[in-house]
Amino acid sequence: MSTTDPSVQELELTDETPAAPRKMSRQSPKPRRTAKAAKRPGKKMPITAKLALFWLSLVVFGAIYAKFDNLLGQRLPLQDPRYQGNLFGTASRTETPSTAHFLGTDVLSRDSFARLVHGGWVSLIVAMSAVTFGVVFGGLIGTFAGYVKGRTERVIMALIDVILAFPALVLLLAMVSIFQVRSLTVISLVIGLLAIPAYTRIARANTLALANREFVHAAQAIGTKRFTIMFREIFPNVLPTLLAYALVNAAAIIVIEGTLSFLGLSVQLPEPTWGNMINEGRSEIRQTILPVLWPSLALTLTVLSLNQVGDWLQGRAEVRSAAL
């Protein structure tokens, strides 16, 4: 074996490649491709997912930075997102980007960069809270329904189907209207409640498959209690699929929060969100597109990034399922 052959080196380093294919690879005209194909799909993170992670890191960092800036009562070099410079003679309406205002100012002469960063906090919190709500409650309900089966499962799934059949946005608008106080907590909880059905279905479907696996039968055979099997054997194996879905779902939730903000039904003004930034900027869109462009770009990039990372994670979860 020639140790200078790179394809061979790679094959040798691939721990899951058995010995037999090594001979075959020597006979193959394109050994490198064969070696790649032999790898586990989704193991290596594609460049798009890396870029996506980079963007998401920026959003998360910016949001935490903005929040803790206020919580700590310190003035880091990020402007007040509510400060209307034109009232105090320090800025004009809809200024173009400058060193004083990186992304310019909005229709009320507020710093667009500061508002964008602060708006990210709202999107982040709503998405994370709602997804967590969905994963925990939807996951547990779905696992329970899928494992106990019978009449209980039918009742639970019928209820879930009813909720799913109702137009989500209409339900959301109704629920938001009921809660007259539109705090971040309330918005997160309302969206989280509506996220539960999808997670329930996913968890139930996975549980149905897992319930017939050998390790579950083994646990049953040694007399393990049903709830213990559910929590220790099944739910942990359902969780990767739920979390992979959660990232994709987080993207959808960010869009939903943006829609609510656009309609004036998300967190109360003057708290900036990407949705209400778009809404406020659209009245002046003929004068300048920038106040609408920045939050739209941020929203698009964040949703795209979450989808990229979610897809990659989903691929990994599938591999794990296959391994089981």
């Binding site: 997102p81 809270s129 705090s183 971040l184 997160s188 003057p270 708290e271």
Partner: protein, 614 residues
């Protein structure tokens, strides 16, 4: 492996809990300690720069002036006009369906009124050839035009008007007007003479029959027989007849071949073959539709759209602008602390930078800062009131508000020196939201007020201001609102400044508890402010038809409002109907007697005399 996922889950849950803990409660902290607020002490300590404010009543460069002039072009028959409206009319029954500017554009094409508003502020006959009152203004007689028929061929006469009265008494929109005008009966004295008998004198009664609710003449037989169907297929005597009505899409009206009215040269009206109304709610889309030629005309009540239309006009459009009396702003609920103290109302009003609010609405150079219920173009406008209205003086406002805050007997029960706290609410319209945030920033930045912003849909917003029986006090604090109209002042002022509760009425000798006559109070006194002398002036103003006397009385009313400031103003609402340049006749229409009509108030076009030049 299981443990690892559980760890992930634990981390996720922890982050969610942290998020919930850090989540804003959605309120605004004037002190700047909460999320979104700056804590920028420099900024907060700094006061707004004195800006050059257009002196009250003076004309801003480029502002909208209301001008009407007689049509000089030669009229042409034919053509189909498509008008873009800012909203759909929910129904076309004058007595039943709530109707604002877009809807009035449609109704005025179908229905005629007994009287119309002239450019000089007086009322002239339309379906009525003449009208007069008895000496004490309790009986009004209208002599009707002969030979007029409804679209279905039924003749229009005094009995038609009398037959409308029971419908007006029951209608959800008209019943209030019947009550305000105190109409006791409507009787046909002969075939073409109708008499309105009032329960109290009203020298400006024709103003009520100029209003949509009881002014538009509809075919009473069809309305009584099929009220629901009437909404989609209304029958009036107007220049156009509804051909098709596709709700939220298009309403097409065709020329009434039997229309009674002719122009000055004897040509039968209307000139157009048809007119279509399309609701296009988005302001930008409506303007684009006009610029692209999809529609021939559009209306708007938004200052920003007027600015954008001016910018986009390369000479292909004619802009019919109107600076009406309608004025934006808001009210303080004077029955609730801290607004029960005039120092609070006055201090906040003085800190209201009207120019900045108007700028946020996109109205710089278009709207004028309001100082009263009448725009500088109105015959009722008073320079004296304009001078009396509290001017923008941030430091002065802070000083006045500080007096209240440092008063040991302050009405809100807070400790001396503690900022006042109140809710500032507006409907969730983007422009109103912008204006509201300017006010919030101005008031909060003083360090003397904690302002909590809220947005509720239009109906909830109104309900909060209206309140519940028996007192109708409302639950609002500082509340966005619009004031005034281009009608006679009595139609708005008398019902809004009457006693706000039965108790107030009884205390001021305007009724007795348990007596047969209900105490004279109004649920539409939204600011819950009452001044007996002011109300006395309003009552006196409808007992004389002398313009000078009435002017003096309304001026006194407005001076009192400027002194007690139960409300605040932003700017007068400029409106616009933009048409393609070959559309003529919107501003120069005339009454049957040849006098010049009011034009296009509140972007309501009179389409009967419009024509399209070749």
């Amino acid at each position: 492996m299981t443990t690892r996922w559980l760890k992930y889950l634990a981390v996720l849950l922890s982050l969610a809990m942290l998020a919930a803990a850090c989540g804003s409660d959605g309120t605004t902290d004037a002190g700047g300690g909460d999320s979104g607020s700056s804590g920028d002490s420099e900024a907060e300590a700094e006061e707004p720069a004195e800006e050059e404010v257009v002196a009250a009543g003076t004309e801003a460069e480029g502002d909208v002036d209301t001008e009407v002039a007689e049509i000089e072009e030669t009229s042409v028959y034919g053509g189909d006009l498509v008008v873009g409206l800012e909203a759909e009319a929910t129904g076309l029954r004058p007595w039943e369906d709530s109707c604002s500017s877009p809807c009035l554009n449609m109704m005025v094409a179908v229905f005629d009124k007994l009287v119309e508003f002239r450019a000089d502020g007086t009322y002239g006959g339309w379906l009525a050839e003449s009208f007069e009152s008895n000496d004490d203004f309790t009986e009004w007689t209208f002599k009707l035009r002969e030979g007029v028929t409804f679209h279905n061929g039924v003749p229009f006469n005094a009995q038609s008007v009398a037959d409308m009265f029971p419908i007006h008494q029951a209608g959800s929109q008209s019943a209030g007007i019947v009550g305000s005008a105190k109409i006791l009966s409507v009787t046909a004295a002969d075939e073409y003479t109708v008499v309105y008998t009032l329960g109290a004198p009203h020298s400006a009664f024709p103003a009520f029959v100029e209003r949509a609710q009881i002014g538009f003449m509809f075919e009473p037989g069809e309305a009584a027989a099929n009220p629901d169907g009437f909404s989609a297929a209304p029958i009036g005597t107007g220049p156009f007849m509804v051909e098709t009505r596709d709700l939220d899409n298009e309403t097409i009206m065709v020329r009434n071949p039997n229309y009674w009215m002719s122009d000055g040269d004897g040509n039968q009206l209307p000139y157009l073959d048809s007119i279509s109304f399309r609701p296009i709610p988005d302001e930008g889309t409506r303007l684009d539709s006009l610029l692209s030629g999809t529609i021939n005309a559009m209306q708007t009540l938004r200052q920003g759209t007027i600015r954008d239309t001016r910018d986009a006009n390369d000479g292909d459009l004619t802009l019919f602008e109107f600076q009406g009396n309608n004025v934006g702003g808001g009210m303080f609920n004077s029955s609730t602390p801290p607004f029960d103290d005039v120092r609070v109302r006055r201090g906040l009003t003085m800190m209201n930078n009207q120019e900045a609010v108007i700028e946020s609405l996109g109205g710089t150079g278009i709207s004028l800062p309001g100082t009263q219920w009448f725009s500088p173009d109105s015959v009722w406008y008073s320079e004296k009131v304009a001078a009396a209205w509290p001017p923008f003086d941030y430091e002065g406002g802070q000083a006045v508000l500080s007096e209240y805050i440092n008063d040991a007997a302050r009405s809100d029960g807070k400790a001396v020196g503690e900022p006042i706290e109140f809710e500032l609410s507006c409907p969730p319209d983007p422009t109103l939201i912008a204006a509201m945030q300017v006010l919030e920033q101005l008031w909060s930045s003083s360090g003397l007020a904690t302002v909590n912003l809220t947005n509720y849909d239009q109906q909830t917003h109104i309900d909060y201001a209206l309140g519940a029986p028996p007192d109708f006090e409302g639950e609002h604090g500082a509340h966005c609102w619009r004031w005034s109209s281009d009608q006679d002042p009595s139609t708005e002022l008398n019902r809004q400044f009457a006693p706000d509760t039965p108790a107030t009425a009884i205390a001021n000798g305007l009724g007795e508890a348990g007596a047969e006559g209900t105490p004279l109070f109004t649920p539409t006194n939204f600011f819950n402010y009452y001044d007996h002398e002011l109300f006395g002036n309003l009552a006196a103003a409808i007992q004389t038809d002398s313009f000078d006397e009435r002017y003096a009385l309304y001026e006194a009313v407005m001076l009192k409002v400027a002194e007690d400031v139960p409300l605040w103003y932003s700017g007068h609402t400029a409106t616009l109907i933009a048409t393609q340049a070959n559309v003529v006749g919107l501003s120069g229409w005339t009454l049957p007697d040849g006098s010049l009509g009011v034009g296009h108030p509140a972007a309501e076009g009179r389409w009967g005399q419009v024509f399209i030049q070749q």
